[in-house]
């Protein structure tokens, strides 16, 4: 992975930088010791590591603004960091950067049930947003798998999704407003506790901009009343194609489940060995979840299972109670952990049109044979967001590179069939060099204009999202 050459002049100014930061932050908020900086050398894309020059952990918007003003004046790049759970290397430092971590900014600022929003500091974890409102019957809808750890700041940066976004949408659909600190320290409120901000939809472009346009310190989030109940059904099939056709038929029938999850045989076998959820051994498995009152759930599941029966399922297992529902989800939720037990893997995140599912799965199988690397597929089938896990051996020289080449081929295939490189993880450094596969230089240029406007000095997370050669001139200033 190519990263920009470390700016020696910036590194040389470290003492002055540290002194300036210590002027505006409490002592415990400025981290300079090499050993302590190790904690910030990578995020969840652990294959790449680089300790930052300094890390700061501000507690307020004012402190964030002060930090950015200093870095702006001194020409120091800043990499914002939520909880460091990015799978795309969104928070990967460079050796000449300041890591700006918002983890200490985790307060709930306002809860308003009548108007159905919550305002939080952006370092608050995703699950604890729901935690703050669930005793009153509300929840925050986007639910990335890392929701126990991941921060709202990172969710906004990556426009994170989750298993239930078929019904509830992703972060951008549940975000009402933000407090954004610009690189020069300017604090802006964009959007707020009302719908559809006036003027250009800046909120829409900030969400998903991977920390390149500003640092989000606070957010207004939409909260929703909890459904009366939810229940999954598990359906096994003897081929991927049939499972794909069943997904399409369910959607066409007018039922809109909250989630349709898909697992293939390698994934079923691995999770079964690990989590012992009691899944049937078959080629493909769907978990379909619906919500509502008991009678509504019965009616919807009746319709879904009737559709499934037309596709000759190997097994249909409706959850009769909470415990069975938990067991149905158990395997799916432990899929990534289970795969990690048997092998090193990289997790892809391309999205494809649902209609291309059988073709893409077949092609991935063929590539797997070509590359000699195993693949397990587990993904959100309702919206075509795939997560092929490519297995490799980190101790075997050349295997990671081989695995990455395979991954790149899969993502190119996603683009080829009309999809995209990343559905919910973000580009980061991981898919940065593949952007040219999806976008023409004009398409990319238009995106770069937005960064030019928000961050003219190109100091915020500058080595991410776009291929380095495309941004070289801009980063050079």
């Amino acid at each position: 992975m190519e990263m920009p050459v470390v700016d020696a002049a910036v590194v040389a100014r470290k003492p002055a930088l540290v002194a300036a930061l210590q002027q505006v932050l409490p002592q415990d908020a400025v981290i300079v010791e090499t050993a302590e900086l190790r904690a910030y050398e990578c995020d969840a894309l652990t294959a790449y590591r680089c300790p930052p020059l300094v890390a700061v952990l501000p507690r307020t918007t004012t402190e964030v603004s002060a930090v950015l003003r200093i870095c702006h004046a001194m020409g120091v790049p800043v990499v914002p960091r939520g909880s460091g759970t990015s799978l795309a290397g969104g928070a990967l430092p460079t050796g000449d950067c300041v890591i700006l971590g918002v983890a200490r900014m985790n307060a709930v600022l306002e809860t308003d049930y009548a108007n159905r929003f919550i305002r939080v500091q952006a370092g608050r974890t995703n699950l604890s947003v729901t935690g703050a409102v669930e005793s009153d019957g509300f929840f925050y809808a986007p639910d990335p798998s890392s929701q126990l750890a991941c921060a709202i700041a990172g969710n906004i940066a990556m426009n994170s999704g989750g298993a239930h976004c078929l019904k509830y949408g992703v972060t951008t659909n549940n975000l009402l407003g933000v407090t954004l600190v610009q690189m020069d320290g300017t604090v802006l409120e964009i959007g707020g506790p009302y719908l559809d901000a006036p003027g250009l939809d800046l909120l829409g472009v900030i969400c998903g901009s991977e920390g390149q346009l500003g640092v989000v310190t606070e957010a207004w989030l939409r909260i929703l009343p909890k459904p009366e109940g939810a229940r999954p059904v598990l359906i096994g099939f003897d081929s991927n194609e049939v499972a794909g056709a069943c997904v399409s038929d369910i959607i066409k029938a007018g039922v809109l489940p909250v989630a349709i999850e898909f697992m293939d045989r390698p994934c079923i076998e691995a999770t079964e060995a690990f989590a012992k959820a009691g899944y049937p051994m078959c080629e493909a498995l769907l978990i379909v979840e619906v919500e509502g009152a008991r009678a509504e759930i019965d009616a919807q599941l009746g319709l879904i299972t009737a559709i499934a029966r037309r596709h000759n399922p190997v097994e249909i297992r409706e959850a009769a109670d909470e415990d069975e529902a938990r067991r149905i989800w158990l395997g799916r939720k432990s899929a990534f952990g289970a795969m990690g037990q048997i092998s090193d893997y990289i997790c892809l995140d391309g999205t494809i049109p649902v209609s291309s599912l059988p073709y893409v799965l077949r092609r991935i199988g063929e590539m797997s044979a070509q590359y000699g690397l195993g693949v397990a597929n587990v993904f959100h089938a309702g919206d075509g967001n795939m997560h092929p896990l490519i297995l490799f051996d980190a101790n075997k020289p050349g295997d990671l590179e081989l695995c990455e080449a395979f991954g790149a081929d899969v993502l190119k295939l996603c683009v080829e069939v009309g999809g995209c490189l990343t559905g919910e993880h973000g580009v980061g450094v991981e898919k940065r060099d593949l952007m040219k596969v999806q976008f023409t230089s004009e398409d990319m240029e238009a995106q770069l204009w937005v960064k030019d406007v928000f961050d003219p000095g190109w100091l915020l997370n500058p080595a991410k999202v776009f291929p380095l050669d495309v941004t070289a001139e801009r980063r050079a200033g």
Binding site: Y113, N115, F138, N159, G161, C165, N173, T186, L188, E189, I190, G192, P193, L195, D196, P198, G199, L200, D201, L202, G204, V205, C207, G208, S248, D249, I251, K252, G254, A293, A295, E296, A299, Q300, T351, P353, S355, H380, G384, N385, G418, G419, C420, T422, G423, E424, H425, G426, M435, F439, T440, D443, A446, Q447, W449, V450, D452, V453, V465, F466
Partner: protein, 410 residues
């Protein structure tokens, strides 16, 4: 100018000698009328892809909305964000296009449940002010590859680029719908009732309040959609929940319910009012609108209220309208002999609405006004200096010559 293809559109923009006014179907443009030659997108038409199983459609920007709806209806699907038909309200003719809907980010009552237009647009092709063809997003539901310019363009009223193709998400049309009506609530009670309904698990897809006819009887209307048994169940539960607000009338006739919601969506009740503005606010802030108006602005008799209102989105969207008489009477609050009373009253009212929104955190947009008002006020809520600077910067990048719908958003 009426280009037939995206390429012709790009050439037209590259070769443009001066300002251009971008027109889709000409049914919903608001704000100041931009100067320059008209560039029509109506010839860029046709649905190029429809995959019911993937809930996606791709259409050229000038495709009539009616054609899209008809195609979707054949597979019992729909454009879920319910774009309003503004022709009655704004006194326009013409054929609404999908491009116009996107340029205005036009969303109807269902916005509270399924999101706005901007939440349903998956991808765009557009031509910027220099004639450069740009593509962003795609045709899949989940896509975080690069920056989301789709949102930036959606609701930009033709000021950043001319849309050529739109890919969007569609949803299944529900089997049936029904409404629950509460009668005689004042606005504060209505906002509370709607908040209770929207805070319930019964999946309310419309929550509106208004006065119908010339009497004073108000109706607060809540919509439920889905499979029949489910709608029937939720209707009963909702009635039980809202019992403290009075006895509910259950409108189980789907076609009647549909008709009523269409009227709400299109704001036809205000079609004869010469002044109409829309406010987006926090629902609970509504009470202040009358309070401030009564105490600070419209204190004088004879009118207790210098305007009529209807609430949608559970009170988050406030339609404010005034009759010619109300406008003339408002003008007497701070008379200006040099100006037509109706126009002057409209100016005072609109400035009041924007100042209210500036204080309460929200925004007021002018939709319809006596001739001359748009030039005297800022039809879109003025932005803070920091946001205005970003907006200016973005326009300078996408339209460096400043030729696209110049000044339309103020």
């Amino acid at each position: 100018m009426r280009p037939d293809t995206e390429q012709e559109l790009a050439e037209a923009l590259r070769g443009a000698a001066g300002s251009l006014r971008i027109v889709g179907g000409g049914t919903r443009a608001i704000g100041r009328v931009p100067p320059g030659d008209v560039l029509e997108t109506g010839a860029l038409a046709g649905i190029s892809l429809y995959e019911p199983g993937a809930l996606t459609m791709i259409a050229a920007a000038g495709t009539p909305l009616a054609e899209i709806k008809a195609a979707l209806a054949s597979d019992t699907q729909r454009v879920a964000f319910e774009p309003p038909d503004m022709r009655r309200l704004l006194g326009r003719e013409g054929v609404a296009t999908i491009g116009g809907v996107v340029a205005a980010n036009a969303s109807g009552p269902r916005r509270i449940q399924v999101g706005a237009c901007r939440d349903h647009i998956l991808g765009l092709r557009f031509v910027d002010g220099m004639g450069r063809v740009i593509r962003n997003g795609g045709r899949v539901m989940k896509n975080v590859t690069g920056y989301d310019l789709v949102k930036l363009l959606c609701g930009s009223h033709g000021s950043l680029g001319v849309l050529s193709e739109i890919s969007f998400k569609v949803l299944p049309a529900p089997e049936t719908q029904a409404s629950l009506c509460l009668h005689g609530l004042d606005e504060a009670q209505a906002v509370a009732a709607m908040a209770a309904a929207l805070g319930s698990p019964y999946e309310v897809t419309g929550a509106a309040h208004g006065v119908i006819g010339t009497g004073f009887a108000s109706v607060t209307r809540l919509r439920l959609e889905g499979f029949s048994p489910s709608v029937a169940y939720r209707l009963r539960e909702l009635a039980r929940l809202l019992a403290p607000f009075g006895e509910a009338e259950l409108e189980e006739d789907a076609s009647l319910s549909r008709l009523k919601w269409q009227e709400m969506r299109d704001v036809t009740a205000f079609a004869d009012h010469p002044f109409v503005a829309r406010l987006s606010i926090k629902p609970s802030d509504f009470a202040g609108l009358y309070f401030d108006a009564a105490n600070l602005f419209f204190a004088r008799p004879p009118l207790r209220r210098g305007f009529d209102v209807m609430l949608d989105w559970g009170g988050g969207l406030v339609w404010v309208a005034a009759t010619a008489r109300q406008l003339a009477e408002n003008a007497q609050v701070a008379p200006d002999r040099g100006v037509e009373p109706e126009l002057h009253g409209a100016k005072l009212l609109f400035e009041y609405l924007q100042s209210f929104c500036a204080v309460e955190c929200g925004h007021a947009t002018l939709l319809k006004a006596p001739p001359g008002l748009a030039a005297r006020v800022q039809p879109f809520q003025p932005e803070s200096a920091g946001i205005a600077a970003l907006t200016r910067g973005l326009r300078a990048k996408f339209d460096p010559r400043g030729i696209l719908n110049q000044g339309v958003m103020g």
